[in-house]
């Protein structure tokens, strides 16, 4: 099944019950995923969460231990990578060093014996504005230029599915912004299905129509970027996608519209529709920019949660906004983003403050934070060995 024609349009990608084990660890536990044709889909997650493995499975560079992969409804699980209508922009770009830029871009077309390969390659280079460098070797280009060549080399083939493996990781901030816009434009122009793997939550949110947050080999939550941000369902998503202020407590009251949670000695109200769990111990939260700082105790109203008093323990100014860290005693600390618009209270370090937010902005999560911290347990053999050694050394020093 040589892929001799250009894809007319993007194709659906469907992963059914995918599992991938490597000797010694499982990269993907159980993954089911449907990416509709023509969409820009981002897989977001920390390093080691299995997102790159997922991409390599789709590209055919790895074989799944279990499960099926379907592209455009056709089962490609047993199809070799060179026979799949898929192209990848690799993290390392992987431009062939022994070929010129134009030879690199025309490589895929020539393999498929498409007529006018060189002319089409020039066209793709014009799209990324690099046609004037067609005769150079990849080593003679800057990182950003190499990235654009890698992109041209992939899209010139008009694959039904384009895979992007953190291709913007090596670029500086300004160039990255520019490339993000270009990618988005190209995707809209050619109408392909894009699967973008990244650990940069901002990149995922600005570019993708749908974001899937991956953690430990499974998808935690999936949806439109705004939806994910406004209504995270798990602690991991709440903390990985932006920042969150989380409070854990018991549900003490439930009405048809809201639940009341008692955390420490405070009561926090969350709309029932925005809470995943309605009884027992739950974690509720609010985004830092939704929280307002008060220097005097505000009057309690039904539609606002008020916490305080507390003390400002850190103030950091970042231009557009100021970030306050408020210590609320038993409730823990709360992060507040205040826009620097010249109005509203300005609290100094050590000031006594109250924080409040609209009940409608809160959310209730499906799980509660565990004390393990943000990073997964480091259980590689080397770190275990290092820890043991440290333990032994300190034991020796004591004697």
């Amino acid at each position: 099944m040589a892929v001799r024609e250009f894809a007319e349009r993007g194709a659906d990608l469907e992963l059914v019950g995918i599992q991938k084990r490597f000797p010694g660890f499982t990269a993907i536990e159980e993954l089911d995923l449907v990416i509709p044709a023509g969409s820009f889909f981002a897989l977001l997650g920390p390093s080691g969460c299995g997102k790159t493995t997922t991409l390599r499975l789709v590209a055919g560079l790895e074989e799944p231990t279990r499960g099926r992969i379907l592209i455009g409804g056709k089962d490609v699980t047993d199809t070799k990578s060179h026979e799949r209508p898929v192209n990848t922009v690799f993290q390392s770009y992987a431009l062939f060093p022994h070929m010129t830029v134009i030879e690199n871009v025309a490589f895929g077309l020539k393999r498929r014996r498409i007529s006018d390969a060189v002319a089409k390659a020039h066209e793709a280079l014009r799209l990324v504005e690099l046609d004037h460098l067609a005769q150079r070797r990849p080593q003679q280009l800057s990182g950003g230029q190499q990235q654009r060549v890698a992109l041209a080399r992939a899209i010139v083939n008009r694959p039904a599915l384009l895979l992007l493996d953190e291709p913007l990781g090596a670029l500086d901030l300004k160039l990255r912004r520019q490339m993000q816009l270009e990618l988005k434009t190209i995707q809209e122009e050619v109408g392909l299905t894009f699967l973008h793997v990244t650990h940069d939550q901002e990149e995922a949110m600005t570019m993708a129509d749908t974001v899937a947050v991956m953690n430990k080999g499974a998808i935690e939550q999936m949806g439109a970027p705004a939806e994910l941000y406004e209504l995270p369902r798990t602690v991991f998503v709440a903390n990985f996608l932006g920042q969150s202020n989380l409070f854990t407590g018991q549900v003490v009251g439930t009405t048809s519209t809201a639940i009341t949670v008692e955390a420490a000695d405070a009561r926090i109200v969350v709309p029932t529709a925005r809470a995943q769990r309605h009884q027992g111990e739950v974690a509720v939260g609010v985004r830092p920019e939704k929280v307002v700082l008060h220097t005097e105790e505000p009057a309690a109203t039904a539609d606002r949660n008020v916490l305080g008093p507390g003390r400002v323990i850190d103030v950091s100014f970042s231009g557009v906004s100021t970030q306050y860290l408020v210590d609320l005693g038993a409730l823990g600390t709360v992060v507040v983003f205040a826009q620097n618009v010249g109005s509203g209270p300005v609290a100094g370090l050590g000031a006594e403050v109250w924080v409040s937010w609209e009940v409608a902005h809160g959310f209730g999560l499906d799980d509660v934070p565990v004390e393990a911290g943000r990073f997964p347990a480091d259980d590689s053999t080397t770190s275990i060995a290092a820890q043991r050694r440290e333990g032994l050394v300190s034991e020796l020093e004591e004697h």
């Binding site: 560079l61 990848t88 992987a94 060093p97 490589f107």
Partner: protein
């Protein structure tokens, strides 16, 4: 960027000068060594090659002259040997490449996951070096002699004519050359293949190239420096070799190469000018062939 490059270039000449003086000083021992042990014998060889026999002298006595006809004579007399030398060397190089490439690819790419296996196989490639090259070749002479197990079995199975020999044939000499120079092919191939970035191979496969095309279009070009180095390291000594083709080892009267002719002229016939002229022809021919080869293979920017 461009301006910055010019600026640093202008500020540098002084540092450059001091650096080059130190470099020269460090090179001095090497230069002296080469002048003493390479240039002097070379000049002496050129002078010898132009000598004429002493008028009333014994055999082996020669006078300095400018007798360039020596060259014409040796080429006329030994053209078959010259051609045979390069033919055998070429055949041995091609065979060594065909054997070594899969071996080096396995050690350098496929065995990356098992470093122990990798080192073990490398040791096995180098192991023959621990035994003298002459002894190993003599051993092969025994193994391939008419009375040997291998040859008698082949004859018993009618795979060889009853009156045929293996030693003394061109095949035996090419076999010996291939065997003796295989490590010189394998090691440079291994060093380039060991550094081969497999992500390029994945990228090729992602761009619709099947395994064979990936090998032809990506693996081979990227390992070109190793192929060039390996073929040179095999071809040059093989072309000048006189052990394998010698009657005392794997060769016979019809398999004499240039090395054997030079040896005979120097040590048996005492015809020093002829031997010197042949040596210079061999050297020049190798130089020309090698420079054409390196140019044609276009590996300058990969080296």
């Amino acid at each position: 960027m461009a301006f910055a490059a010019f600026a640093t270039a202008e500020a540098q000449p002084q540092v450059q000068k001091r650096k080059s003086r130190i470099a020269l000083f460090l090179l001095l021992p090497g230069i002296l060594y080469l002048v003493l042990f390479f240039l002097t014998p070379l000049i002496s060889l050129v002078l010898t090659s132009l000598q004429t026999p002493a008028e009333f002298g014994d055999i082996g006595q020669y006078d300095y002259a400018f007798n360039w006809q020596n060259y014409v004579t040796v080429v006329q007399q030994y053209l078959p040997h010259i051609l045979r030398s390069f033919g055998y060397a070429l055949a041995a190089t091609v065979l060594a490449l065909l054997f070594s490439y899969p071996l080096a690819y396995f050690i350098g790419v496929k065995a990356r996951r098992w470093p122990l296996l990798q080192s073990l196989m490398l040791v096995l490639v180098i192991a023959p070096f621990f035994i003298s090259f002459l002894l190993r070749t003599l051993a092969w002479k025994q193994l391939l002699s008419d009375e040997s197990f291998i040859i008698t079995s082949l004859k018993a199975l009618s795979l060889m004519a009853p009156d045929a020999h293996f030693t003394g044939t061109p095949a035996a000499v090419i076999f010996g050359l291939t065997y003796n120079f295989i490590p010189f092919m394998t090691l440079p191939l291994y060093t380039t293949l060991e550094r081969l970035d497999t992500r390029y191979l994945e990228a090729g496969s992602d761009l619709y190239a099947n395994a064979f095309t990936v090998f032809r279009k990506i693996t081979i070009p990227l390992s070109m420096p190793g192929i060039v180095a390996g073929t040179l390291l095999t071809f040059i000594p093989a072309a000048g070799d006189y052990v394998n083709a010698s009657r005392d080892f794997l060769g016979g009267p019809d398999t004499q190469m240039m090395g054997n002719v030079i040896e005979a002229n120097f040590l048996v016939l005492l015809n020093y000018p002829a031997a010197a002229a042949l040596s210079i022809i061999l050297m020049a021919a190798i130089l020309v062939l090698v420079s054409i080869y390196v140019k044609r293979s276009g590996t300058e920017d990969l080296l």
